[in-house]
């Protein structure tokens, strides 16, 4: 029997859903292998956050200090490394988020423990830990195992596990003194900045026609705009289109953009990376247009058109216009 650590992630006073998802998976593993679930919570005035997970862990270790008001990976690393040394948990789960991706590799080096990132499943096969991951934009899966170690660190992809509660737990709350009150900081938090809102809110649209890197050139975006116009839909896009400054950030769908929930989402020249698809999980119906029959988007879309977008999109547009006229 061992402990399973889950590093709770929260932002601006609110728990992040990845925390529930990690607690669900930890809970499942705990049931199967008689482990216990310990949530690690660092922050300032975090009692409400502890409250929100108190029926999902057996123990919550809390460090509550003014200095923990803003996330700092170095402080998290040192604090959690201390806990790992003390309790030797078999697993430490961290979200594969912007912050988790900064923390986990540093912690792994600091604690001398093996790490696998962006895991989509965790298994123990004959007591051997196996982490399931994806490579090559999801076109290949891999099972990763580890050199023998007292503990392992895994970061968990958002959205792959349930957000539900699992099992019947009532957490013991353990408040610890924050040990690093005097640790010099080499990084100071300044402020948060929001993405500019823009004139359309894609999260409210009923019909989105979304354009991806398959469009090739900036001027080709007009093709997709024309289809959207014909359908009275709204144009959105994948990240590379924003990276290239072809469309503004507020039209980006995905983990680092917006989550949308249209009745119909038409993806044109989008491969279906999970960061993109995470933003469309609320869509009613997904229609993908892509010339690569192996594109991962066809695994999750409801309907697919395997064709060159430059051939098929104009045909679709013309047909829509004809139908409307007729």
């Amino acid at each position: 029997m061992s402990e399973l650590f889950v590093v709770a992630e929260h932002r601006l006073g609110e728990i992040r859903e990845i925390t529930f998802e990690m607690l669900w998976k930890a809970g499942e593993l705990a049931q199967e292998h008689s482990h216990t679930v310990t949530a690690i919570l660092l922050g300032h005035e975090v009692s409400p956050i502890a409250e929100s997970i108190s029926d999902r862990a057996d123990k919550i270790i809390i460090f509550d200090d003014e200095r923990l008001k803003n996330f700092n990976a170095d402080i998290y690393k040192e604090t959690i490394a201390g806990l790992i040394e003390e309790s030797k948990p078999i697993l430490t789960l961290i979200g594969n988020t912007s912050r988790g991706m900064e923390l986990a590799p540093c912690l792994a080096v600091r604690a001398g423990l093996p790490l696998a990132t962006d895991c989509i499943d965790i298994m123990f096969k004959d007591d051997k830990l196996i982490a399931q991951r994806q490579m090559y934009s999801g076109k290949i899966f891999s099972d990763v195992s580890f050199a023998p170690s007292a503990g392992y660190i895994l970061t968990i992809r958002s959205g792959v596990f349930s957000k539900d509660r699992i099992g019947d737990r009532q957490a013991e709350i353990v408040k610890k003194d924050f040990p690093l009150k005097d640790m010099p900081l080499k990084k100071d938090f300044i402020e948060f900045v929001e993405t500019a809102a823009g004139d359309v809110d894609i999260s409210q649209a009923e019909l989105l026609i979304s354009v991806g890197r398959g469009i090739g050139e900036e001027e080709n975006i007009s093709l997709v705009k024309e289809l959207a116009e014909a359908l009275n839909g709204v144009v959105s896009c994948s990240r590379p289109i924003v990276d290239k400054n072809w469309l503004p950030k507020h039209l980006q769908v995905g983990t680092s953009g917006k989550s949308v929930s249209p009745k119909v989402y038409i993806a044109v020249g989008i491969s279906g990376a999970f960061q993109h698809m995470a933003g469309v999980s609320g869509a009613g119906t997904i229609i993908a247009i892509n010339k690569d029959p192996k594109a991962p988007i066809f695994r999750t879309a409801d309907y697919g058109i395997v064709d060159d977008l430059f051939k098929i999109v104009p045909v679709l547009k013309d047909r829509v216009l004809e139908t409307k006229k007729g």
């Binding site: 900064e102 290949i140 099972d143 948060f192 993405t195 309907y303």
Partner: protein, 260 residues
């Protein structure tokens, strides 16, 4: 402002049927085209932009074989001053831990104020090497960096969080920054540019020069097996000629209530 940028050459896997190799440890790569990892392309550009403005040098570094020099030459053509390749034989026997150890061993002895990596590499999607290098060098860091400004001996960064929220920090130098796509517009590189850059220094160092053995680089995470994604029901493909596809497409939209 001396900047070291860690880069990687990765295969293009879009629109190709990937084939698992005989050992089931990876994919067959002999038919694939290779490019500079997208994130690293932004990282090199950012380093060159910063040194154009503040002076200093850019060093591009990779762990790989002779073929991987192609991406170093591209970095030199983009404006890096010199390049280093760590020759370690077949790199598939290492994990990110091992790669980060080699990189930090070399970077440690270079003059640097900043180290850049991409957020992750498009092949294995691990996203570990950068922060591991930072920890091994004992320097501070920022992840998912989408904006950088140098301010009297410090660097002001914006890190992208989920939902597009930016987190602005002020960081002491030296520091490692993992660069996110979209931070700039990487310049175009011509064949002529690459030819011209051939005069720039490209140094090769092997493991013995680093004083490192396979033993201390032995992997902590091992790929047991790779496989094709498990079958899902998948999308219902609209088949037939474009006319038939258009009819089916309209029928779906009508059924789902988005056609007036």
């Amino acid at each position: 402002m001396d900047i070291v940028v860690c880069v990687k050459r990765v295969p293009l896997t879009e629109e190709v049927d990937l084939v698992i190799d005989g050992q089931k440890k990876g994919i067959k790569k002999d038919q694939l085209a290779f490019v500079l990892n997208d994130w690293d392309n932004y990282a090199i550009e950012e380093a060159v932009l910063l040194t154009e403005k503040h002076g200093g040098t850019v060093t591009a570094i990779t762990v790989g074989n002779e073929d991987d020099e192609e991406v170093l030459r591209r970095c030199l053509a983009m404006g890096a001053d010199r390049a280093i390749r760590i020759e370690a034989g077949d790199t598939s026997r290492f994990d990110s831990f091992g790669i980060s150890k080699m990189l930090s061993r070399v970077v440690k002895d270079l003059p640097f104020d900043l180290v850049f990596t991409g957020v992750l590499a498009d092949d294995d999607y691990c996203g570990m090497v950068g922060m591991m290098v930072a920890e091994q060098l004992g320097i501070t860091h920022a992840n998912m960096v989408t904006a950088i400004e140098i301010e009297d001996g410090k660097v002001r960064t914006t890190s992208e969080l989920e939902g597009g929220l930016g987190e602005v920090s002020l960081i002491e130098l030296p520091a490692l920054l993992a660069i996110q796509t979209g931070i700039n517009e990487p310049r175009y590189v011509s064949i002529l540019g690459i030819r011209k850059a051939a005069k720039k220094e490209l140094k090769v160092m092997d493991l013995s020069e680093l004083g490192m053995s396979d033993e201390e680089l032995s992997p902590m995470a091992i790929i047991d097996e790779v496989y094709l994604p498990p079958e899902t029901e998948g999308a219902q493909i609209l088949a037939g000629d474009p006319d038939k596809i258009a009819s089916d497409f309209l029928e779906i939209l009508t059924k789902k209530g988005v056609m007036e």
